[in-house]
Amino acid sequence: MDSSTSVALEPLLSFLAFSLSKLESGFYRIPGSAVVARYVKSSHQNDPGRTILELILVIFAIRTLLQSRTRTDRSGKHFIKFSEKEIDELVDEWAPEPLVQPLSEWEQKDLSSVPVIAGPNGPKPKLLATGKVVTNLASFNFAGLAGNEKVKERALETLQKYGLGSCGPPGFYGTIDVHLDLERDIAEFLGTEASILYSQGFSTISSVIPAFCKRGDIIVADRSVNFAIQKGILISRSTVRWYDHNDLKSLEDTLISVEKERKKRKGPLTRRFIITEGIFERDGEMVDLPKLVELKLKYKYRLILDESVSFGTMGRTGRGLTELYNVPASQIDMLVGSVANGLCSAGGFCAGSAIVVDHQRINGTSFVFSASMPALLATSGSEAITFLRNNPSVLLNLQDNIRAIRAVLEKTEGITLLGHRASPIIHFCLRTQQQSLSVTQPTYDYEAEERILQDIVDDAIANGVLLTRAKHLHGQEMVESRPTIRIAATAALTRKEVEKAAGVVKASVTRILSKRR
């Protein structure tokens, strides 16, 4: 070694030695550093290879930590590097599709055939297009609360005290005492510990589901649940198993197979949910609640039950399926219902234990991030509950009317009535050639049937009965259901009026179907 270089390096080396000793003393001054040093020393003595391994691990950890912050698609192997000029050219070349596809001719017709009501809606509304008064078999006015004077009176009183809008989400001064009142009224009505109010019926369950079901949880759901539930399940990112529509045998099989799989994988205990509807919006089928609750308790699942149709319509006073089947509502973990449908106001609710409800006050997306509902709609809901409590006879009328409608339509040629015989919504579809519905894959032309049904609807409206097809987002639903016409029974009409209206529907069906042949 040349002496001159060692001389030249000397100050550098001494500086290094100095700073090293400085670092060392500084390190030892940190409390607890001696422990670390001892650990490193001893582990190095025992096994020098381990030190290298640990060093690599630390470096790897730091690298992944840094990487996760700055990871972009740029680093991916699919990233192609372009020059600025090339990008400009690509930008120029790019021609996007239009934002929406314009409506097809049929969709145009569909949209323009939507009835618009002039004045208040109710059992006998006036149509804007014709100016004619029609009998309403389409709107959700099950208990006949539309236009109820007491509800109106209460709404007016509320308006004079609270104004209209709440001007804020529930967390930030948007919780008005009338919301708390309605929540308490619903909970007391159903017999649950608590309930929480959402400001739109449709957005309720699609927010309730992701509040509880997370990635890795298991959802067992009916194949034909309504669109809101489908969206909620999609957002939850849970593992979903579907069982056959309203088939509790199939449900049990699914529950057993889920349990088997879990045992096989020896996976941890995850949250498990059964999600179904009380009365299915899609076809009016009714779930066998006692059996469902039995299964849920046996296999230790939590039950999310959507009673959007059955709340306010079923049972002696409209408490829904729990009242009908005499099942305590507290056995249903999350009971979701609609204030808009059953109580003729607006919004939705989820009833359950205090813990379930409180959890949603922070985790229910459409509760937290949305303004609370206008005060007068909340008091209208409360007033509607009082009405149901005091007038159990209306639901008897409703059942009478349902029977009357079904009696007439069952005798009608060419259509098949769907759903449970007590369901307040009555769907009917066209009868297939095979004459049986048990065929798993009935062959039918979706759009052609829709057109025929629309003709029936138009004909019925022309003859003084307001009907509607059950509208679905064709192509977006998980399971395409057959096109149907949906009748919503109401207690506000007398049996005679209902029979007459059903007779008109029957005549329209016969007329249109005979024209086709």
Binding site: P96, V116, Q476
Partner: protein
Amino acid sequence: MALNPPSRSPSIFKKKKSFSQLSSMTTAASYLSAVHQADTRARSHDNSSISSTPALSLSSSVTASSEDTVLNEDDESNCLSYPFTPPTSEQVFTTVHMEFGHCANEAYRCVSKHDYTKPVEEHTIEEPPYYILLTTYISYLILLCFGHMRDFFGKRFTKSYFTHLMPHDGYAPLNSDFDSFYTRRLKRRMDDCFSQPVTGVAGRTIVILDRYSTDNNHTQIFTGGKTRALNISSYNYLGFAQARGGCADAVEESIRRYGVSTCGTRLESGSSELHASAEALVARFVGMEDALISSMGFATNSTFIPALVGKGSLVISDELNHASIRVGVRHSNVQVRMFKHNDMSSLESLLREVISQGQPKTHRPWKKILVIVEGLYSMEGTLVNLPRIVELKQKYKFFLFVDEAHSIGALGPHGRGVTDYFNIPPRSIDVLMGTFTKSFGAAGGYIAGPKVLIDALRLRGHSGPYAEAMAPPVLTQVVSSMVSIMGVAPSSQSTKSALALSPAASIDTLKDGAEELPGMAPASMLPTWMNLHPTLADGSEARMRIRRLAFNSRYLHQGLKKLGFITYGHPFSPIVPLLIFNPGKMSMFSRMMRSRSTPIVVVVVAYPATPLVASRVRFCVSAAHTKEDIDMVLRACDEVGGILDLKHGLGERWGIEEVCKRAVELVHSV
């Protein structure tokens, strides 16, 4: 709210009152201050004389008895109940001072309009001193440590509190203790600052239900008492949250006529004529061809965005977009990319990247790109850089969706939102979305755009077939408040204006001369039964509201700055966030404001709604506030902020008295 006496015929196009009138008013005010003092003394002695004071002359429909009930409900006679300056005999106020403050001083008005001589300001974030950041991190660390310790011991010794967090009877825990840690251990400590139940109108003042907790906020006990507080928290930008006045009268009439529900979804026989007329009106208001209305603001985004984009499309979203937009995007199963909040260069570079790269893996070109931004961001108070985005849109051919939830009504010289503020033709944007909850004092939301688009959304959006239609009273509130902002065109013009509804013509009317407001509502668009008060019908009242809001926003913003606070957001934004940083100070701030002799309720927000270190209090200014109310807020902030050591802003500082005195100068100085 100063209005001309009804006897004088109001002129529609008279925008500004002359300043000579103003000077006479101030002298009148000073003259009357002595009268005012005598008056307050009399009031405190004799409650029955209240109903007869001119300060509270209400709209014609209100009977004297209901007036008494309103007033007697709160006994305290703090300065919230009566105006600082009593009105002169010339001034007739049609509002209740507690709902919508009386402010006749025409100097306290301002026009919110973009100054094109200056470039659009970039959003600058003022940093606090390092010790603040450090103590903030340390306080979170302490909170975390204590939280984990309490969890550790709690799970072993007080199991009853943890049953829902632990597996039991073969059920997995309802929610994991990790997920709920933040809620249980950090938020619960200050739960008294959130979800405060209220009663009455969320107007200028609000009545809170007193409550306390004896078990560390696990349960809240109501004392039964009520406290009236100054409300600087509700989204009541234009002050339409009123139980008295023209809009409430119209709603009352509509309940009598239509009931409270239309009993169904829009496509399944729940459509009313009111929906149709309200939609036409909204379209005209925002300057688009067509519009649709949805019964919930949140659902407007979450149910209609999926109908706009699908597989093969890309959504580019601002990182601070509202939860409803995120939910909507997740419902629609598309690719999403985010860009840095309001950073146009970040947006541009992202656009260049995604267009050149195409879809992931396949490199096929995107079917379409939808950029979703908000007009006014609810947590930051920042305004979107719309001129730049529209420029970028020309070049990169993306579709633009602007969520005007907070900006509609609140910004622009005519209250038409960001497009109006920047004077950009609304139709250069593809989809305009907004809500009625905020400026209009109603509920629900709208989407406006070309007719082809809106028709498709009516049929293909989730709301049409599945969600309940908007209730008639809500629709009426929307129509009446919106019409009052637009002004009703005199009947002679109505035929011409109706013609202007056709797409080609209405753009022209939007830019017709300086005097004519964009898109007045032709009388034919109103329901025939709706009789609006002349001051509502000619738009003069709403014009006053818009100008008062602009003044108040700007004043609070500039005032806080001059006092030395760190604030975010655009000076015209009615949302004024004041940075607090330390989590402990946040609850202190809220409690101290609430327990003042004149209570003020504020909204405090922290992580996860904001970055961890940027906890803040968010003021929402309203047109209902008077200048004195803003003074009061500033005074309170000055005191509380001094105690809590919040004044870390740079720049020139003024004393509180100087700020209050030079308010007008301050507002016009920016």
